[in-house]
Subunit: 407 residues, 2 copies
Amino acid sequence: MKKTFLFLAFFAIFVPVFAQQALFSGTDIISPEINPDNSVTFRFVAPKAVKVQVTGDFLPMVKTKSPFGEVESAGVADLKEENGMWTYTTNVLEPELYSYKFIVDGREELDPNNVYMNRDIASYTNMFIVKKTAGDKGDLYSVNDVPHGNVAKVWYYSPTLQINRRMTVYTPAGYEDSKEKLPVLYLLHGAGGDEDAWPTLGRAAQIMDNLIASGKCKKMIVVMTNGNANCEAAPGEWSAGMYKPSFMGHTTGKKPISTMQAHFPDVVKYIENHYRTLTGKKNRAICGLSMGGGHSYMISRDFPDMFNYIGLFSAAIAMNQEGAELTMENKSVDPKTEEQLKTLFAKKPALYWIAIGNTDFLYKNNADYRKYLDEKGYPYEYVETDGGHIWRNWRIYLTTFAQRLFK
Amino acid sequence: MKKTFLFLAFFAIFVPVFAQQALFSGTDIISPEINPDNSVTFRFVAPKAVKVQVTGDFLPMVKTKSPFGEVESAGVADLKEENGMWTYTTNVLEPELYSYKFIVDGREELDPNNVYMNRDIASYTNMFIVKKTAGDKGDLYSVNDVPHGNVAKVWYYSPTLQINRRMTVYTPAGYEDSKEKLPVLYLLHGAGGDEDAWPTLGRAAQIMDNLIASGKCKKMIVVMTNGNANCEAAPGEWSAGMYKPSFMGHTTGKKPISTMQAHFPDVVKYIENHYRTLTGKKNRAICGLSMGGGHSYMISRDFPDMFNYIGLFSAAIAMNQEGAELTMENKSVDPKTEEQLKTLFAKKPALYWIAIGNTDFLYKNNADYRKYLDEKGYPYEYVETDGGHIWRNWRIYLTTFAQRLFK
């Protein structure tokens, strides 16, 4: 390493001149530090702060009152200060991807020593992964020493929406050097998300790399679309400029001329024309979370010959065409919807898979839908997990659902 | 938009339940706000803070003393407080991509209302773009309503380094639907960077999209490699885990068995075997900044038949094989290097392009190299800009250099 060493020594002399670019504002502080026993230590330098706390999903949830009644939120723990350095060590943690932020004198702050973070709509949280053994959740969400698939941001034209749109396409390791045709999973995000949600918060590429490498999952292409019909791409990635993202998508943009579900055949057509795919219903799967679960429900219903595997993750399910009169409100089921579902199930999809957490606010919505399916005798599989409307569940659902596909 | 409205109304009822995921911790505060006159207003809510400042490259540089002598760093301005809301409005700004951070009671903090940020090694800064007229720098760095190229993270095996490695590949708009073969620009980052540096800090995809759309630049594939021979990919994107990045790359990792420059033919071979490329020297260009300028210098010198266009941006140039005895130290030029440069220039590259800022710490290094080239009568072009070793210059250099290629 002589060459590198000397080269860098040459730079080191001039380090201070870089100050404008903040190239060297890093420090030696490691935070978070995953300890050998899988407890985690946070460190934060703030000599003038009066109180430094950490809030994260590794702490027990707390119940607080709100105008909407009792709600759960992530717990908070106090850091202790010594010579301006604040520290906190967690209990031993189970394998998982965890998120956190500091609260410094009442104001949320990112950890300046952790470059790993995820954006969810308009806010960032830092992240870390705890893993213990091969194949556990932490291991599955990590980048391991296995062959990696490529991840591309791909622009396609939608004749239905009449705009160019961006999607994320995962091609499994080896795709480029093979002639093999692959099946395709379409993986949809929730409200407030975009084509970056599953690759970041969802760890989709890591999950697929690891499942495929261990032989638990078939090789497949995974297509992560943008589910906001009035957006071309994620915030900042299209000509709407660097707007502040919101739960309602891009609120000041043009109204779309059609819907996510109506445009979906454009996506399938683009993928099958541009990638080496196995085609036909039996080689296509669709799933999504929350709004994307609603989209998966509607798309599979509207195009009953398109998908053989349908996954609804904490899905927002509407039993009519407008997506408004929800079963949970005891509104009547739209006759067209009834007819479409009858047609869909008559065509016997290989898997109609419903998953939700037992404290999810859409639990009743999904329970009502399951009751409807039961009454009609439409077969489906159901998985219920602990917890609510959270990425922790959606990563588990992707992991479980992906292993069921194309077998 | 009735469907979307009703769908979201359905969600709104349950908003508080999302609290665990911080999905709704956004606020209505807009910061930064680009005003109609191209001044920019920052807003920051901190009722308990005593002093809130902003530091950014839109403020005049200040000179301060350091152990290394006088150094320049970004200026600082005070925000004013009213009812817990701190604000500051800049002067009217020229078109440019700007970076900033807040300083709250002495501690640097990101703007919680701006989701747009760039990582440089281990630190983040927020960013915004000011543009005035079509084709100005701000416009060139923006995502405009033009056809967009795809950007892919691509894994390749390097027989020379004997590892799988990740690079970023930009294919221009239309590539997927054409049979046209394209030339290739290899675009290299500096020390501390990785294959994410040019696509983020360098705005490479935006620059290429806009130059190509306006006809100022030939359509080309742009390949952005990882220049750290002991790394497979950017931090967090390979099996080394979520380590803290440093200027010296991944310091605790394995030593590489070869160098960036020696492995470079592996990259060219992969690209030409997997993309629709025009091949041969006249269809290949290489350029890079700082360490990547040094790499471009060494790779073009070591492989004189490979590149017809060579761009050295604020390059770290070493006049011997080890990359240590620099001309600026008045060390002798290595005879092998002399011979290689003689061979390179005898083969008459179409463009040997050197650019540097007049306050760059590598100015003397480059001046010495230019003197050497002049003495030998080796032709090159030279561009000198204001400023130092900063991305602002490297974006300009890419813009200028790209327009000279393959014509």
